[in-house]
Point group: none
Chain length 216, copies 2
DNA sequence: CACACAATAGGGCAGATGACGTATTGGATA
DNA sequence: TATCCAATACGTCATCTGCCCTATTGTGTG
C-alpha cells in the first residue's frame, strides 16, 4: 500500500533532506510540503486525503504543536510524527498532549524513519529511544508537568458548572432540568451560554474543554 | 564492548529461546539466568557486575515488578528491560513506576532486541511501538490506569476505534464520514455497533467509557 | 465448505440538539 | 441610582442523533 505523507518544516533545505531520505522507499509518496502550519492547513482544506505528517516544531506563523492540535481536531485519522532537532521535555509533553503519534529526531537514519512511519500507520507509536526515556520519566513523575497553568481565564457561573457536570455524565437536557429543578428551556439557555464562553459547538467539545481547564 | 546481561523468567524454555536469539550477537554475554526474582537477587548479592536485566513480569515468589523495584533500589546503574508476553496498561505503568528502562514483547525479532539492549545502555529506552503508544495514551489520560480488568470483554474493531477517535473530537456523523471516506450511513452503523458493545446510548458516554478503558 | 463477522451502505422515524429570537426578575456594582 | 448580568423561561427551525430495519461483500475460522 502506498503511503501519502506531508512534510512541514520552515527550512526548505531540511524538507529536501527528508525527501531525499525517503526517496529510497517506493511505498511512500510526499504529497505535500509546507513551510509552516497554516500553509499545511490550507493544503489540507483542499484535500485531506493524507496518511501522515512529518512535523517540525519551531516554525513561524503557526508552530508544530499548534498545528498538530488543529489537524488532530479536524482530521483525527491523520497520523502525526514530530520530527525536530530539539527534544526538551516541554516540547515532548506538549506534542503528546496535542495528539502527536510519535516523536523522532531529525538526525534519524532513513530506515528507522521509514520504520517509524510504517509502525505509526500500523497503530503503534514512533519514538527515539532518548524520547522514550523522557516519556517514561514524565510518567514516573507527573508532577513535573503541572507547571503550565491556563492563561486564558474562563469564568463560568456556579450554575453553569453544575450544568456542565451533568452534561459530562451524558445526560439529556430534560433529565438535567429534572435533576436541577429547572425548566428544560433554562438548561438549554445555560448550555448556549456555556458554549459561547468556551467557544465550542457541542456537548463533547464542552466537556472536553472543561476537563482540560479543570472546570469540572 | 561486551555487555553482561541476566535473563529472569519462570519458564526455562523461554530463557533458552531468548539466549538463542541473542547468540547471534557476540557483544552480549548472558551472565545469569534465574527462574524468579529472589533467585536473581541472590545472584546479584554475590556479584552485581552486570549491565542489564531482561525481566519477565509474571513469576512466582517475587514477580518482575517487585524485583525491578528491589534491583533499582540497590543497584540503580543496572538497566532493566521488561520482556513479557503481556502488555496491559497496568503492567506497563507499574513497570515504569518501578523503574524499568524499557518494555518489550517476547515475540520481538532478535535484531530489535539487540538494538533495544544497546539503546538502553546508551541512555535511551527500549520500547515496542505498541507499548510506546500506550505510554503516550497514559500520559495524555493519566486517570485511565485503574480500569483494566473489565477491558477483556470490550473488543472494538480497528475501524470502530477510528470512528471513536473522531467522535471524541466532537465531530458530527457527516464530517466523520468525510474524514474516513465513508458514507454517513456506515458511520452511523459503526456508532450503533460501538454503542451496543460499550453498552452506552450517547456520544459522550461512549467517549467517556472508551477513555476510561484506554481504548482511545 | 459453512458460518460468523467486519465493513460497507441505505431507508425511516421520533426525539434531541444547537442556534437564533425575546422577556422577566433580582442581586451586585459602578 | 442606574446599569450589568446571572438566572430564569418560552418559541421556532434546521439539523443531528439514536434506534430500528434490510442488504452485499470479503475475510477468516472451525
Amino acid at each position: 500500500m502506498n503511503v501519502k505523507i506531508a512534510i512541514v518544516d520552515d527550512n526548505s533545505f531540511l524538507i529536501h533532506a527528508i525527501k531525499e531520505k525517503l526517496s529510497f522507499f517506493d511505498d511512500i509518496t510526499v504529497k505535500y510540503t509546507a513551510l509552516n502550519g497554516s500553509e499545511l492547513l490550507q493544503q489540507l482544506e483542499e484535500s485531506h486525503n493524507l496518511d501522515l505528517i512529518l512535523m517540525d516544531i519551531e516554525m513561524p506563523v503557526l508552530n508544530g504543536i499548534e498545528t498538530t492540535q488543529f489537524v488532530k481536531q479536524k482530521y483525527p485519522q491523520i497520523k502525526i510524527i514530530m520530527l525536530t532537532a530539539f527534544d526538551n521535555d516541554e516540547n515532548i509533553f506538549n506534542a503528546i498532549k496535542a495528539g502527536a503519534d510519535g516523536y523522532l529526531l531529525k538526525e534519524i537514519d532513513p530506515e528507522l524513519l521509514h520504520n517509524g512511519i510504517r509502525e505509526t500507520l500500523n497503530g503503534g507509536a514512533a519514538m527515539n529511544p532518548s524520547i522514550a526515556l523522557k516519556t517514561l520519566k514524565l510518567l514516573r513523575n507527573p508532577n513535573s508537568i503541572e507547571n503550565e497553568r491556563d492563561k486564558e481565564e474562563i469564568s463560568l457561573s456556579k450554575r453553569e458548572i453544575e450544568v456542565l457536570e451533568q452534561l459530562s455524565k451524558g445526560l439529556s437536557y430534560t433529565v438535567i432540568a429534572d435533576n436541577l429543578f429547572l425548566s428544560p428551556s433554562t438548561v438549554r439557555k445555560h448550555i448556549e451560554n456555556i458554549y459561547k464562553k468556551l467557544q465550542v459547538h457541542s456537548k463533547i467539545e464542552a466537556v472536553q474543554k472543561a476537563r482540560n481547564h479543570n472546570l469540572i
